[in-house]
Subunit: 384 residues, 2 copies
């Protein structure tokens, strides 16, 4: 029996994780649940899974929940509660399903207490990949990716000599706007952006999929997670989203990981690893599937991917700045403050103004993150 | 430095193996070469690779070669020479590239002397799979497949729990006649049969590819090699022959192995395993490739695949009889004695007349093999 904490239990990954747990009552037990502010959903989850610890990041929402759950449950409020929860000895595995840079602190706490981390969050690795990975190495904390692409790469490397890796083929569905020309992109609506053809996801990641920034963040993530340079990561558009990524070795052999497009498959693997558990989720039927297709990504129509590669080559605090500028831009786009097509230009300008810090410490990261957010907001205001 | 014996060095696999060895002079040394009767090619190979041992199965050809190579080389003649060579302590790895049932005796000799075997031959496993695998297990002799499909499955299973295997997706290019209808198959010429769209191969295997019996033999081979029942092996037509096979696990995850269609890639891996060596062989370019396609095999047009499954379910000596009847039929077809379309009918009739022996010993195998060959020849004679 594995005791599991889910940070971000009310989001898309969190809810899918609970659905996996629901199907294996003899394998997994929910020990802790944490959410930002959606206490309605959280309350239902508490009723069903009976966690020992609960944390609500938003203090007001936390106080309001406290009245409803009574004293049996240890309830923490505020961001600091996350750090306290993950350290508890009763927890074997931490599912980190918070989106954005906020995940960095609880991730480092989990690592420091030597927990196995099932990582769905991209941003913590993107902004502080070197720090996270070297800390995990020191503390012997295993980081198992949940993201379907990183999980695929992780699985393709199983039993292989990592030194024989030649290139990672990171697949991308191409997002909902893959086939639109540049003029159409200018007038694209929020609704069209949110219609991902393959995956049902949260708002932030849906926008990132449409700009291909999501794939750019994955390039950065893979770079740190698997210890390779950006020159060894190649993005290939694969609209069917059946191959979740591939690893090519020096001898010309490629190992690929495929599955139906259901997040619960990589989530389940991250929970059960190294075991594989039988389930009733959708399967790939090759007789019906008929074909898998591949294309080169168009960096002219989707410059965010180019910017991410640039940040990957620059290293230092550049990935952190890219991510912060992108987070601000996406929020602004979701609020209707800026057009879809203006995102990459803003991010590029912030990157240009940034003074890069090589081999950054954690404070350099937070500083660059704060600077980039201010800078991006300022730019948007001045555009306004 | 690995000392290598190649049995069947003048055939397609043998020559490709020598080409791999040629590119890694610091890694592999040819200690023994054996061929059936093509002493012209063998003589050139001796000049280039300087083996310690040479064997020619055809005695007359052997005597003729002896005069040319002088006394420096230990030259054996006759089938028994193969058995002697593989036992030599100076040999680390035996590449078994003889086609047909003749490979069984030298394979067992290699296993008995605890050698690592790189196995290109299908028939030995098909006819005596249980005996071969249990003997290899006892003697701790590793059998590494060379055949691209079996090599793919082997690689997909690396680092995985074999008990979690749900189904093997054995890919098949579909052969040169994939798109022809039944009426066209009736009048098909030898030349059309020999034109394989993806691989350059020997005559026997080219015919087997056209009838899909090759895939049927691979089903049987995989069954023994990976210890699974026929219900766990599913054939999928994949004309591009880029995915060389896939393994699906109980959790819905599929691991696939891909590479350019060049036999030297799996040969090199079988030689260098567990290492992967950088080479300059063709690579898959996904941007140019554009698509991979899949179809269900048509058992009505290609009944040989159905017969192989039937033999797999029947077990015992049925796979041996299937193989022997097929070998006789292919020889007869290559000689122009029978039509392409009559092969499966003959094999089916031989299988119907066969009295199956469960859990066969090696003598039961040789007996069934002999009986099936006689029976098939008789049937063909009576057909006139």
């Amino acid at each position: 029996m594995k005791n599991i904490a889910i940070l971000g239990s009310t989001g898309s990954i969190g809810r899918n994780t609970l659905d996996v747990v629901r199907h294996f009552p003899g394998k997994f037990k929910i020990t802790a649940l944490a959410a930002h502010s959606n206490i309605e959903v959280l309350f239902k989850q508490i009723k069903e899974f009976h966690p020992v610890f609960v944390c609500v990041a938003d203090k007001e929402a936390g106080i309001s929940l406290k009245r409803r759950v009574g004293s049996k449950i240890k309830l923490f409020t505020g961001e600091s509660g996350l750090g306290q929860i993950v350290k508890d000895k009763g927890i074997d595995k931490v599912v980190l399903a918070i989106s954005g840079a906020d995940a960095l602190r609880p991730l480092l706490s989990a690592i420091d207490s030597g927990k196995e981390v099932a990582l769905a969050n991209k941003e913590a690795l993107v902004i502080a990949g070197s720090i996270v990975m070297s800390r995990a190495f020191k503390k012997k904390a295993k980081i198992i990716p949940i993201d379907s692409e990183q999980s695929a790469i992780w699985q393709c490397l199983a039993g292989e000599d990592k030194n024989a890796l030649r290139v990672i083929h990171l697949t991308a569905s191409g997002g909902p706007l893959r086939e639109l020309d540049k003029n159409r992109l200018k007038s694209i609506s929020l609704k069209e952006v949110m219609k991902h053809p393959r995956w049902k996801m949260g708002k932030k990641i849906s926008v990132d999929s449409a700009t291909l920034m999501n794939k750019g963040l994955e390039v950065l993530e893979a770079m740190y997670l698997f210890g390779v340079g950006p020159e060894k990561i190649k993005v290939v558009i694969h609209p069917e989203a059946i191959i979740h990524s591939m690893v090519e070795f020096m001898d010309g052999t490629i190992i690929a990981q495929l599955s139906a497009t259901d997040m619960r498959i990589p989530i389940q693997y991250a929970l059960s690893y190294p075991e594989r558990l039988a389930n009733k989720l959708a399967r790939v039927d090759f007789y019906k599937l008929q074909r898998l297709s591949f294309q080169e990504p168009d960096l002219k129509r989707f410059p965010c991917l180019r910017l991410a590669y640039q940040a990957a080559y620059d290293g230092g605090t550049a990935p952190c700045v890219l991510n912060a500028a992108n987070e601000v831009c996406v929020e602004e786009f979701l609020r209707g403050g800026i057009n879809f097509i203006s995102l990459p230009g803003i991010i590029e300008r912030v990157l240009e103004r940034h003074k890069n810090t090589g081999k950054p410490g954690i404070n350099d990261i937070y500083h660059a993150d704060g600077w980039a957010r201010q800078e991006t907001k300022g730019l948007i205001r001045r555009m306004g």
